[in-house]
Symmetry: C2
Subunit: 297 residues, 2 copies
């Protein structure tokens, strides 16, 4: 793994990349024409071998990682299962993951059919099952690293800062952000990271996930299934997200803004080596686009 | 329809209601014990007659409206189709919608099975199909009403203000907010409103939806399927959301904060009868909980 130039990132957002945003013209509150960049959103249908599995709404970057990560996080790709090829078709908006041998997708399909084919319900059920037997590695989270990561991530040029209406998830190690993925789909960003880890053979030990999204049950479950022991977010919690984090022994840190954060699970992994008073508050320009509009007339 | 006391609402949020939030204790950035209210999140499995359709993650209020609205917005309940009973079972976390005669769900089921039972893909496909032939009623949106609605809604006690990590959607008429629903599930809040409209026989003419969530394709499609001609939000847009709004002739207003907003579709319905300069900026305490924590040490 080698970084891009001076950037700490192996993969960083490309807010200027063609096809990720579109300039749209409307009128503002004073009736003046206003052109703003809005993020793209397009369907991507994921196949596992011959089987259509899901259609995800995505900004469209890293479709191969999204497909691999989605299948991995749904338990449809097992550890050590060989992935022969991943074929993305831009025109058909499909990506096909080809594996050798028999995958478990046939069982999943039977189950889906039995439950009237509801991915939401069944897949969620599968994910909960997958949690049984999950044990997360020990880890030490230095608050000095948390603050460094939050600052670097929040000042990294991104679709989140440029266009808003998008979620970001960053795979971190120590005080270094490694891979920063963004997507309109709530869980696509974390799935893309799972797909990258699978492709690169990157292990979860010593890793942390940072997300701009809410710490819901599904987010906590995906992080735990990836074997990553720490999940931090700018946003808030749901009760079940906290409950599951405590059950599986995951460290859950939320409402992380400037010097503030709240840790609702896995407190024992925190090493408080930074003085919060020495941490600067966030600059308004590093908040959500929509929030920035509000602060900067 | 009669309002609750002096409130303009027929249904208003009940942030203090038991079972919607839970007090959870953790530690803050200075290592002090901190107890915060977090929203509940629990599965609700929706049946249409004998058929299991979906499991939604929800805060748990108004399960009957959620079930009716979800089925309606997925095209599984047709206009004029008689709903005999809606049975909610708190213990089993299920709600069963019973209709007379043959519903279309069997076709949907066949389709789902054929597409490996992916609700995400199939249901989305069904929703797009449902858009064909949708024509939205004329309407006039006074900007003075928009500002009044935003102010009343943003100062209404809600889970959004009390606990955060939740989305709200409000059915409005003129300058009056009628029904304010909240949920952790991104689309549950709007489905609950659809369910309420179906139960009460409320027509979409002259109505507007206000949401705290992003204006994605699915949000725009649901609003159009409900026959509501105007959708406004505090948050941003996706390109496809804008594209679909323009195709179906829906008025789309986003980034609505204080005096600011951007209209990216259906401009012709706007009647600019308010002077933006006379509108106060938002008070920090009426922003997202997570954002408030940042502004108010």
């Amino acid at each position: 793994m080698s970084a891009q130039g001076d950037s700490p990132y192996l993969i960083a957002p490309a807010p200027g990349a063609p096809g990720l945003t579109r300039a749209v013209t409307g009128t503002d509150h004073e009736g003046r024409a206003q052109t703003i960049n809005v993020v793209e959103e397009r369907p991507l249908t994921i196949f596992l071998n011959a089987q259509e599995i899901v259609t995800a709404m995505t900004i469209g970057d890293y479709p191969e990682y999204l497909a691999l990560g989605f299948l991995r996080n749904q338990g449809m790709l097992k550890d050590g299962e060989a992935v022969l090829r991943v074929d993305y078709d831009d025109e058909l908006e499909t990506v096909v993951v080809r594996t050798d041998g028999r995958t478990t997708y046939e069982d999943k399909l039977k189950k889906k059919t039995r439950t009237s084919g509801c991915a939401v319900g069944t897949v969620f059920g599968d994910m909960m099952e997958g949690l049984e037997g999950v044990t997360l590695p020990d880890a030490t989270v230095r608050t000095s690293h948390l603050y460094t990561l939050a600052h670097v991530i929040n000042t990294t040029p991104s679709l989140y800062l440029e266009a808003g209406a998008i979620h970001g998830t960053v795979l971190c190690e120590g005080d270094r952000p490694l891979v920063y993925m963004e997507d309109v789909g709530r869980h696509n960003a974390v799935d893309k990271i799972a797909g990258w880890m699978l492709s690169e053979g990157v292990r979860p030990y010593g890793k942390m996930l940072y997300t701009t999204g809410r710490l819901t049950s599904e987010m906590v479950i995906k992080t735990a299934l990836m074997g990553i022991p720490v999940l931090a977010s700018r946003s808030g919690f749901t009760a079940w997200g906290v409950e599951i984090a405590r059950q599986v022994g995951l460290t859950l840190i939320g409402r992380m803004r400037g010097r503030r954060f709240v840790c609702l699970a896995g407190e024992e992994r925190l090493l408080r080596d930074a003085d919060p008073d020495s941490v600067a508050e966030e600059d308004a320009k590093h908040r959500r686009k929509s929030a920035r509009k509000e602060e900067n007339p």
